[in-house]
Symmetry: C2
Subunit: 699 residues, 2 copies
Amino acid sequence: MDETLRPLFAPRGVVLVGASHEPGKLGYGVAANLAGGGYPGTVAFVNPRGGTLFGRPVYTALESVPDPVELAVLIIPAPAVPDALQACARRGIRAAIILSGGFRETGPQGAALEAECLRIARAAGMRLLGPNCVGVINAHLPLDTTFLPRTAAPPGDVAFISHSGAICASVTDWAAEGGFGLSYLISLGNQLDVTESDVLGAVAEDPHTRVIALYLEGVSSGRRFLEAARAASARKPLVALKVGRFPSGRRAVASHTGAMAGQEAAYDAAFARAGVIRAGSIEELFDWARALGQCPLPAGRSVAVLTNAGGPGVVAADAVERHGLVMAELSPATRRDLGALLPPFAGTGNPVDILASATPQLYAAALRLLLADPAVDSVLVILPPPPREAAEAVADALIAAAAGSSKPVVVTLLGASGVREAARRLRAARLPDYRYPEQAAAAIAALQRRAEICRAPADEPVRFADVRPHLVRALIAEQRRELGGAFAQAPAARVLAAYGIAVAPMVLARTPEEAVEAAKILGFPVALKVASPDILHKSDVGGVALHLASTRAVAADFTAILTRAREARPQARIHGVCVQPMLPPGEEVIVGAVQDPQFGPLVMFGSGGTEVETTRDVAFALAPLTRREAEGLLDATLAGRRLSARRGGPPGDRAAVVETLLRVGQLAADFPDLVEIEINPLLVFSRGVSAVDVRIILR
Amino acid sequence: MDETLRPLFAPRGVVLVGASHEPGKLGYGVAANLAGGGYPGTVAFVNPRGGTLFGRPVYTALESVPDPVELAVLIIPAPAVPDALQACARRGIRAAIILSGGFRETGPQGAALEAECLRIARAAGMRLLGPNCVGVINAHLPLDTTFLPRTAAPPGDVAFISHSGAICASVTDWAAEGGFGLSYLISLGNQLDVTESDVLGAVAEDPHTRVIALYLEGVSSGRRFLEAARAASARKPLVALKVGRFPSGRRAVASHTGAMAGQEAAYDAAFARAGVIRAGSIEELFDWARALGQCPLPAGRSVAVLTNAGGPGVVAADAVERHGLVMAELSPATRRDLGALLPPFAGTGNPVDILASATPQLYAAALRLLLADPAVDSVLVILPPPPREAAEAVADALIAAAAGSSKPVVVTLLGASGVREAARRLRAARLPDYRYPEQAAAAIAALQRRAEICRAPADEPVRFADVRPHLVRALIAEQRRELGGAFAQAPAARVLAAYGIAVAPMVLARTPEEAVEAAKILGFPVALKVASPDILHKSDVGGVALHLASTRAVAADFTAILTRAREARPQARIHGVCVQPMLPPGEEVIVGAVQDPQFGPLVMFGSGGTEVETTRDVAFALAPLTRREAEGLLDATLAGRRLSARRGGPPGDRAAVVETLLRVGQLAADFPDLVEIEINPLLVFSRGVSAVDVRIILR
């Protein structure tokens, strides 16, 4: 652990500044938790009124507090905090948790107060958590600096890190009821100093922590978060709920890529890069954390469902498929053995329905067979308690059968009061239980996601050596001098070519004669496209003519295109018409890049054409890309998957697409001023690719 | 209620055949529930061994049971059931619930036994529920014919109808914990006689039932279900979980429409037609049923979020948007009054954040202001208990503030044990409580869906009088004589034209000369398309040439198309080339119809072109369509919404598209033998539409 953070999470002595004698006050609640929570270090209270509290003396000033004291917890009015921090600094205190509100969240005056606090802390080499936070629980030390009601839940293995204090206040209650224990609870508040990235590093090293759950409303620094999360994920599973998905404002964009990118795409890409599993709701966050903390990881996607009733089995099978898992095809030996074991009309397919008459012994025997089947990667057991047996008897049998298995077993306990004791036993045995089959299936999917993260080979971003950045620099300089904004087609093509990206030949023609000349050189048939930095969707203004096979057609269409374009967009700057040879047919994909304000360059891949925003078949990854990430973009989209199975033709050249993605990513990473880069379409042939239409926007 | 069903649900006397003295047996559990459940009618037990049970005599035969007895509950081995039914019939019993398993689900012998039971029942005019079911609970009579453990939950207003007995066994436990009461629980089992459709009609009339929740694994008859559900939905909200979404097998299809249709699209369309709200999980089924049973309906989509903490407010705002609702724009007066009421740094936007210091009084005052704001249709209150107040005090204040409001108020109670008493009070006051903001938002969305169903004007399918079915009959007859299967382009176009659908002129050319002749008549430029019933995707085989402006081009492309098509598909029957005039540019949409085996003709609308399965921008409705349903297909798809806002052109002719959908629906409804009909694309102009490419498959 970063030694400067240790005093925050494992101090040798704590002082509470603002301890209160009044049971209604927060300063009383914190004092109670510090004094009564079993913390093994020294605890001191400070309040100008003095007296005693929980049998301890209350000091009237920080100066009189005896050693050792490494951490100060402040719950005093905001304006008094800077002086208190000064006193802490003088006292040699190493870290402070500012629980008080009244800072940045209240306006400029509060923000100034915060800045003052940070200045004091930096000067003294002191770390700050908060302000405006709930504090820290280190459940194993134990240490509790919060004012939350104390929980009966035993310490556990989930570290919870949160931008919301209110969620912290609920999580101890959920943990007690939901059967998981916390190792850490860390409320970050305004993050004046210590941020989510600092804390990630600290808890990843904690031997009691098996899984890290994050509630995020953003990140303080995209690149720092990426590093910290990646390092943490290499040691422990990370699952995060990122909220604020629907911002009301949207910035202006000049390409399909820009329209499809946004905070959400960037976070998805960042989480993918860092190995963070993204939950979609509070419920998923903790449902998945439980499974990730308790289960071995599956070797693959095949799930066996074991049930004693048809209905919940069907519900589970639906959910398995919906979450991207597959229902296991049981091996013949397993089916035979199940057949021998089960009553005549039981289902030995998958779901395995062992009927309502199932005894605990039958549940256990069937579970053993499924766990032994190499075709099964995990088992989802459904436990509508058999009508004649207690649920806990079945739970005990399942626990014995699952013991020692290297495959995850996840249990659905249908019901509520009738299965409470069964839940208690399963939890003690570290078999996660869920209320509905859908949640159990989702939890297995989270385990599978974690398994994929762990199995992914170490991989570095690809950088090609044959690129010519000096050429791009020159083209950017020229663009700045002339126009700024959108590059014309020809220099945009040169930018791509400088990074080794295959661009279709194109000639800018300013007159019909030039167009005819160009067509003769390029060879018939040709395509004409209006050349304008101001016309994003050329076909919408009648600005495209294809398959022109004669000089007459070229000349006529040149004039027709300019007429239509000028009519449709009288304000647009029109440079002429771009002449290209008609290319052989290929798959049309889109490759783009944008600069995200938080995470930097993002590469997009997907189905191209004019309907990108309708099709929405795109995926994003952070640039520069690793080869696996580039391959992943193909796997994540229909556009990519279709390359391997093109209708009516040989497969598209996947490798050439991957190389194009890597090169575009390198270009975007090298030149952050290229705010949007878009190739649409990139034509994919059976051998090679060709960028047909290119759009680049300079900041 | 259908008078033949009354004895099943509200009998004047019940006999249990198979009552058992052994506490482990199901026949004992049923006896206990019948005897001890408070049923006001007469209860008699039958068992050949005689004796007494729960203080009542056990008769050795049905014949000796005294009057009145209208309902028999059978829990005896399957082979003994027919004889028992005969005895029931002789005794004049009107209905029987067969709890026993061992019938259809065990194979042909069991199925034969079922058929025998049905024969006996039909002959005697006796209704049957089951076999292989859990029975019936009529909670208000009360009557309990199940063997389920008796629940402490008071009777309520949710009628639950289920194809799964295991879900029934859990629902009483969930109800007790989740704070909702059941009016009916009906387990349908094998549905030998009484089906979900029969039961729907019965419970819709029940004065105690406010909402009907269905767990369905299919329906017995699509058209009967539609009628019954529609009638029930006119009186009560219906919410259904339909499982079995991911069948492994798929039938062969010959069109995009066929590929996109399927059981799920049909169920969605049927539920939409009938006014059934479709839940996606067991959790949603009961979450939504609670809200539907307890809340008034919102007048619109605008939701105000009231919270005392930022984080959960953001989570709620995300969820509101994700569920198709909108965050209300509070009126200036409300913002002003909130500003006067709340502390200086509280948020008077939406979410309204009244800060952690909020008292119960402040919660109540803010809720009153929000409910009084005409810009607010519903309020989602989040209750992380304020650190200094008990959750139940806030609950009481909220209950008082919400009392009498005509707007729904839904509460999120973050936490578990700490909010249990608050939950109890909210439930007693009929304010539904949820554990997470996401669930609360989803529940409001279900209320909004119900409001839309209720507000939808009564609407009849549109039938045009100017159609010529005799012509279609003749074309079908001709097609049967000649080929069967796929219609050639020209007769397919005539089928559409017979139903008043605008089809682009097209001429079949068998030689280059014929093609040139056709082009001259139609006027240049023209398009050529290969004409073959065996080539579904013409452009994939190079079978399309566009913008041909000269006789030479037409002749050359005619030959080129045929050469390419014969090369790509040597087995295909090729009739020649279809010549069409080039049409002005328009939006390309797809209109199709298929025959669903369960629900009959389904109409599809969406984004056309070659990428229908990629874009997946399609929606389905049952044919024949009402005008509102046709409009709904446009509203549900980007293709439809884009017509009003075409890029670079005047809006597309929505009315002409709607008319085309209505006419295609009428055609599909009139001719079930036309198993697939597809227009792709239908070109939409600013005035009018034109079917460019048509595909019709004869059964």
